[in-house]
Amino acid sequence: MDKHYSICIGRKFGSGGRNIARLVADSLGIKVYDRDLLKTASETSGFSEEFFEQADEEKTRKGWRSLFMGHLTTHGMSANNYLSNESIFNMQSDAIRKLHEQEDCVFIGRCADYVLRDSDRLLNVFIAADMDDRIERICRHADVTPRKAQSLIEEHDRKRSSYYNYFSGRVWGDPTYYDLCLNSTTLGYDKCAEIIVSLAKERLKI
């Protein structure tokens, strides 16, 4: 059995996944790795953080730009290019594995569930929410109109899903790949966190 456990949280944009992750981590007394992961990856690889930011889950290019700009060089040449998205993803995965060996973690996104798939102390969760609720949340946080919020949501969800599907070969948000799928609109953040914590305690033998 692995020395440490990890809880991987996938989330739809604006569903409050990060807040829930914080609540879970606080209740278990462990650390959340969101964007901090990029910093860790940068430290373990010796590569500057900006490269990890460029290749991060919501930075992937879309449409024709990805065809001509992204793929030719950053994808096509990955066999010997250390700055390709694939190579950066592999370095980031090494950081995820290293953290999992060193401490108990909550990971947000970044295919951590796939990277750690061989671990026997892993809990995979997906957080969704009703569209109206997500729009309202984004309006509040980003100070935008509901229309704009909706298009932001669609864009970010598309990027997250194409990042996840590309690197993991799984389907983002497909219940098959998660132990638990929760709706934060109907359950509320606290209840979601409570369910995750209690399941984690039971399943991960904390």
Binding site: F51, T74, N90, G169
Partner: protein
């Protein structure tokens, strides 16, 4: 390079030593493929005749197109497999291998069949005439029948490289060249099968190379091997392979248009013989271009790693060194093209008419060759440091954006010479473009290096 760890040596060892160590295997593979062209053309030129050489040259655009489809699948699946192996996800890597085999067979057979059906109109479009179409058809028919094997052989070689067996890929490449040389001699010189002999030799050597590859990949102890149950196409895998492979494929397909324009220009303002002359000039130029590409391949990991690690002075050092070697290689090309002209042409033909045209072509095409090396290195450098946009602009400008308009206009004023002029003129313009992009970039890097 299946598991792209970050080897310490890239950040510490001497740059010169690293560059040579990475460049030698890359150059051997590159030289092998340019040798392949030379051998084929030399046997056809001497053993069959100058018109056969033109007939062969007429088939190049079609061969480019086929190679474009092959490289699409090869690069796409190679990239995906190395990603999956990096994640120790052997199951997915296995599926990708099986799927790429199926895709290659499907695309290879479809392309082969379609081209066979329309073979005469296609060849006429590419510049065949009554004199040359016989040779072109005879050659291409056999090549197209074996087309699926060509795709399989090239595709699996890509995969072997990505799956951590670059040496096996190299053995396959060199083996094919040697076998092809021997069979060319046997079929053309001994059996007198004509241009058909060259095609049969090509197909047989690729089929045998493919069988050898299958043998290598059937070892069950290998991380990835050919296995039943992996050949059924899966939509998501095919989509990933195709999107990744699409732009390298399109770049290769663009080469097809350029060769088509060159062939047609030479035919319109010159003769069938001129097309054959182009195939000679092209073979010689190819050697040096491929050698520079070998250095470029070696520069990529060194520049990319050090750029990522913030060791900018090492990035600049590898850039300067590669610029030096690239220029050295193309200067050698210049000397060969301008001063050893007749020696080079003699490899392919003794025909006086063909020699005269090829000599003129070589003298013009190699005119500014010493500068090309730096242009190619610059383009690749941008790619190494994660600026694909500039890199694509550089390679498109020399081979496409500048060349196509020149090929369409210059011959109107200068006749056949105009076709030849297009190449050095487009080269010169793209060298200027290259330097105007590179110099500001180097300045920026120097500032970063000083501040760190």
């Amino acid at each position: 390079m299946a598991e792209l760890k970050t080897p310490q040596e890239l950040g510490t060892d001497g740059i010169g030593k690293l560059l040579i160590r990475y460049a030698v295997p890359a150059m051997i593979a590159m030289l092998a493929s340019s040798l392949y062209n030379i051998v084929d053309r030399a046997f056809i030129g001497h053993g069959v005749g100058p018109m056969a050489l033109s007939g062969l040259a007429v088939t190049f655009p079609l061969m480019n197109l086929s190679a474009a489809l092959g490289s699409m699948v090869g690069v796409g699946s190679g990239t995906m497999i190395s990603l999956k192996l990096g994640q120790r996800d052997h199951e997915s890597a296995q599926m990708l291998l099986g799927n790429s085999v199926t895709l290659n067979v499907l695309i290879g057979v479809t392309f082969g069949l379609l081209s066979l059906v329309f073979i005469d109109p296609i060849l006429t479009l590419f510049g065949a005439t009554d004199v040359t179409i016989g040779y072109a058809r005879e050659y291409m028919t056999i090549i197209l029948v074996g087309n699926a094997f060509t795709h399989l052989y090239l595709g699996i070689n890509c995969i072997l490289r990505s799956a951590g067996h670059p040496n096996k890929a190299m053995v396959a490449t060199i083996g094919t060249v040697l076998l092809n040389t021997f069979l060319d001699y046997l079929f053309i010189m001994v059996f007198h099968w004509g241009i058909k002999g060259a095609a049969i030799a090509t197909v047989i050597s690729q089929v045998l190379a493919f069988i050898w590859q299958c043998y290598q990949l059937s070892d069950k102890s290998e991380l990835i091997h050919l296995r039943r149950g992996t050949y059924r196409l899966r939509g998501d895998l095919v989509r990933n392979i195709v999107t990744i492979g699409l732009s390298p494929g399109l770049m290769n397909a663009a080469a097809c248009i350029v060769v088509l324009l060159i062939n047609r220009g030479l035919l319109k303002y010159g003769s069938d013989v001129a097309i054959g002359a182009y195939s000679i000039v092209n073979s010689i130029a190819f050697i040096f271009v491929m050698m520079v590409m070998g250095f470029n391949q070696a520069m990529q990991p060194i520049a990319g790693y050090n750029y990522g690690a913030g060791q900018i002075h090492r990035v600049l050092r590898v850039l300067y060194l590669t610029l030096f070697f690239g220029t050295l290689v193309t200067t050698l090309g210049f000397i060969t093209g301008e001063f050893l002209t007749d020696f080079c042409i003699k490899i392919f033909t003794d025909d006086p008419e063909l020699t005269v045209i090829a000599r003129r072509g070589m003298h013009l095409v190699f005119l500014i060759f010493p500068l090309i090396g730096s242009q190619m290195v610059t383009g690749n450098f941008f790619q190494s440091i994660g600026m694909p946009g500039k890199s694509i602009l550089m390679s498109l400008s020399r081979q496409l954006l500048l060349l196509i308009p020149l090929l369409l206009t210059l011959p109107r004023f200068f006749g056949m010479d105009g076709v030849w002029y297009s190449m050095p003129v487009s080269d010169a313009l793209s060298v200027i473009l290259g330097f105007s992009l590179l110099i500001p970039q180097v300045r920026k890097l120097k500032v970063i290096a000083k501040n760190s």
